[in-house]
Amino acid sequence: MKNWNLRLKLGLVILSFFMILGFFFPLLYSGNVTEWSTYPTNLKPSMEHFLGTNSLGQDIFWLLCNSIRTSFLIGLFVAFFSTLIGILAGLVAGLKGGAVDRIVMLLADTFIVIPSLPILILIGSLTKGTASLFLIGGVLIAFNWPWPARQVRSMALTLRERDYISIARFSGESTIRILVKEIFPFVKDWSIGNFINTILVAISSESGLAVIGMSSNSKATLGTMIYWANQHQAMLGGKWVWIGSPVVAICLIFIGLFLLMTGQQQYSALRRGK
């Protein structure tokens, strides 16, 4: 803790701030945040409404907290699984080669070549606009694992040319052990980067869908929050808190994650005594 660098600390502060907003505060609010005309509309920020209320008569603060939670969950869910699947697939493909490689890459390529947004929109209209966030998450995973897979594979391909890997392989170590012990360190940093980026991709894809009304608009996510604000011309109408808060939230969450990532790299670099 004591010799953590600034980035690491800052990142953790920002993230934990949002974690608290997203996972603790919602517990304090009993009502249903998405319910309309719960309060008078368009109130200025005040003691009982920290961020005021919006044109739908929702309390922006509580809405924001819940939105942060949902978006966080989507982001983590998607990022975790797509990165995990991607890395494993990529490593296995890269190291085992042969049929395994071909099959994995065939799948990966198929998903890479199919444009994701149109499909997401298709799904959107398929599921009649009530795409459960879970489904959206699933689709996002399906479209996001191939990228790390390819990347990691090309890394693995170069790695497996390095002597000690082949040594390890000839000395009969199990692939898993090689993966974990010899190779993972090399793809670690990239993977963390990818993980964090995927969180963002997930969050912003969801809000991208939401903006064109294809997400599940009755649920509270940062995306749908922006959607409703847009629907009510918050930007031109200068309802900055309403439209601004989710945007700022997204940015800060990402920046927090990013600082965390780079900070962690510096930290581990220092540990390695480099």
Binding site: G97, R102, M105, L106, D109, T110, I112, V113, I114, P115, L117, P118, I119, I121, L122, S125, L126, K128, R150, Q151, S154, M155, L157, T158, E161, D189, W190, G193, N197, L200, S204, S207, G208, V211, I212, G223, I226, N230, M235, L236, I243, V247, I250, C251, I253, F254, I255, F258, M261, T262, Q265, Q266, A269, K274
Partner: protein
Amino acid sequence: MKFLKFLSSRLLTYIFVILLGMTIVFFVPRFMPSDPVESMLGQMMSKSSTMDAAAIEAMRKTLNENFGLEGTLGEQYFGYMKRVIFTQDFGPSLTMYPVPVKELIADSLPWTVCLLGISTVISWLIGNGIGLLAGIRKDKAYSKILEGIAICIYPIPYYIFALTLIMLFAYIFPVFPLSANFDVSGFTWENLKTVIWNSVLPALSLILTGTGWWVISMTTLSRNTNEEDFVAFARMKGLNERKVISRYVLPNTILPQITMLALQMGTIFNGSLITEILFNYPGLGSLIYRGILQADYNLIMGTITTSIFAVATATLVIDLLYPFIDPRVRYN
């Protein structure tokens, strides 16, 4: 020999990928709970409900015949595959009947390719430049600032970001036209200027938001490479910093980025939906969107197949070229 073996197997994959993709694209829309005829009638009725109901029934029949939507799914599927593979013909657009989908795509393609291609390349260059700086000069102030800016812009939801740009530069300070005008009757220097002038804002929005990811990935990559033994050793050889970076760090970090760029270049064939909607830009993205909203099967399949083909080709090219760029990778 090895190469031929690799080539053949890779080509096989290539073809398989495209077929698989096309198949998915054929079936997914058909699961849509709507069909083009109905949507067309629906929109007519939403405008005026005076149309005699029996007549609508008759209308539906005529349309169905015109669109060739009879026959079992199987028949339609194989018919479609045959058509596309052997004649590269996607048939007529249903909502813009009888314009052939091909023509629609051909009209939008140059616009999309031009805008997205250029902005992608630019953001790639800028992004990697900044990323490299930030990676190897992590202690310098300017690299931190550049990186910082990129990091702050990148996560802003595109729609909001683009909208802000419009509000800023077309409304509050009306520098650029609010409603872009891409009319080009004949190719003249005048028109070219107009088009470029009108493309500035969309391009800008794409570049600024696009740069971020390149910065991030390049920073990480170059940082790691910078810590590799051979870089340290190069320094020990007393090579000056510029040589070390240009000969050792850059070549080794740029490889994955090139892969990514190639893939990106493929994906531009989806067009960029929100950009095109926001900036009235006549590209593929809005075409796809229209197709989906109005359940225009042929249009959906045409546009998406095009992009599938493009991306697949891009990946194929990478795989074939990679061993040339990176000696460590062999064909196998």
